[in-house]
Symmetry: C2
Subunit: 261 residues, 2 copies
DNA sequence: TAGTGTGAATTGCTTCACAGCA
DNA sequence: TGCTGTGAAGCAATTCACACTA
């Protein structure tokens, strides 16, 4: 996907990061493909697990297998952030974990605001994975008088009209929109006015934003429809064998990773 | 990229669909890029909205603008499913809607089973968008004794051990896994044993499946991390102007679409 | 010697630009 | 005349294959 897939301008320029390391700086000042950025996040999670298990090093082959990519792609991905491998040995788990964290900007926390605490929003607010991964939910908003004023996971639900003030106060950098479709654009405008420049959109609408604002869309209905397409294709292939149906390696690898309960 | 995004083998073969139309059959028996399949689902939703508003026809330009793609891409996408446009006029909304539905296999309902009705799973079970879009949730499963036996949205939560029997009985074709990571593989194996060949995975693990099974992964942590990367990049660009920071058109277009409350 | 880092080849997606039809 | 449908060009991402080094 894809999709997660498929975007117009796919690579981004990574300016030299403030911080240590001079040798790496020149290297970092290059373009990292968007697809690579998404995979780095996946590698990062696996490196965390490996570290917990006490592994000191991994080879590209091991890490690639564990994350469902091929090893050449993995090495190329890592080469975009610099050369931290040891030839003949592999990568030092802790060091690589740290480098990826730095590259993704996870070395400082990012406060997240969630707008819309209905069905899905409520689940997102209660998802413990965010805080643990450096994305503390700092504010919740809704318009429903039954919801405004309650606490979810210890966080007060405030009225949407206060978005600008509250986000500014708490240094929110990322907004998540989990409202019904018709409300999403207005909420988005509020977030943008509050200075938020990155938005994760769960509402089934195309958001209009100024060009400096980055939007990612998550659409579960589309995911299901893509799967439905595969079901249909398979059925047709079974009904009419002889036609070259499904085949070729079908790795269980797609857009990205996950969220448990 | 969307992923949604980045997959190994990207295009699929579409065998001739059973059903009417002989002229189209040859056309349909070709490969449709995965990226196109995902966008077709987006066009489909917009066509539904246009139909509700009473529109009879749309031009590629209008439909493209409304869905956030460029018109050449849209026309090429539609050309994969056949030639249903009228030169000088545009596309007939109802006919195109119907064709895309058929291509995606949405002309017959697909029963969905959801495993894991914790935080996220509960939200998914309550999401009204599925049933309305041809994906009725036909079964819910969990292992928690406090959950097994309750009803959510009128659907009984059953024990995971009954997956095989219940899925077979109800003709489930798509499974959604919203369990904690460690439980996901075992649940996946159960679904596969029950004959499910398409799985939407919300757990943060790489599922091992036989090659005929299609898996799509949705990982909210990865989405946030990709956004975090953009925040970091932007900050660095501001801190060090002169370096060529962000720029170029940044369309609010990514993997795919959405899910309201 | 095992395994990284990377130029070069390849594949597949996107965009262009225009011929052709209603 | 206006807009579709599509070959061809242009790009981005993946994969190959091997020089290189710890």
């Amino acid at each position: 996907m894809t999709e997660n897939d498929a975007r117009g301008d796919a690579s981004v320029t990574l300016p030299p990061q403030a911080g240590p390391s001079g040798a790496a700086a020149a290297k970092l000042a290059r373009s990292i493909p968007e697809a690579t950025v998404a995979r780095l996040a996946v590698y990062l999670r696996m490196l965390g697990e490996l570290a917990e298990q006490g592994a000191e090093t991994v080879s590209s082959e091991e890490l690639a297998t564990a994350t469902g990519v091929n090893s050449a792609k993995l090495r190329k991905d890592l080469s975009y952030i610099g050369s931290y491998g040891i030839r003949g040995v592999g990568y030092e788990v802790a060091a690589l974990h740290h480098q990826i964290e730095r590259t993704l900007g996870l070395d400082h926390q990012q406060a997240v605001a969630l707008v819309g605490v209905g069905n899905l929003g409520h689940a997102l607010a209660g998802y413990s994975g965010f805080g643990g991964r450096g994305f503390p939910v700092a504010a919740l908003f809704d318009v429903d008088p039954d919801l405004v004023g309650i606490h979810i996971n210890g966080i007060l639900v405030e009225h949407v009209r206060d978005i600008a003030r509250v986000c500014a106060e708490r240094g929110v950098t990322i907004g998540m929109i989990a409202t019904p479709g018709p409300a999403a654009q207005a909420v988005c405008d509020q977030l943008v006015r509050a200075g938020v420049e990155c938005i994760l959109n769960f509402a089934p609408v195309l958001l209009q934003v100024p060009e400096q604002v980055e939007v990612r869309k998550v659409d579960l209905a589309v995911e299901l429809q893509v799967l439905a397409f595969h079901v249909a294709r398979r059925r047709a292939a079974e009904a009419a064998p002889g036609a070259n149906g499904a085949h070729g390696p079908v790795p269980a690898t797609n857009g990205s990773a996950v969220l448990p309960r």
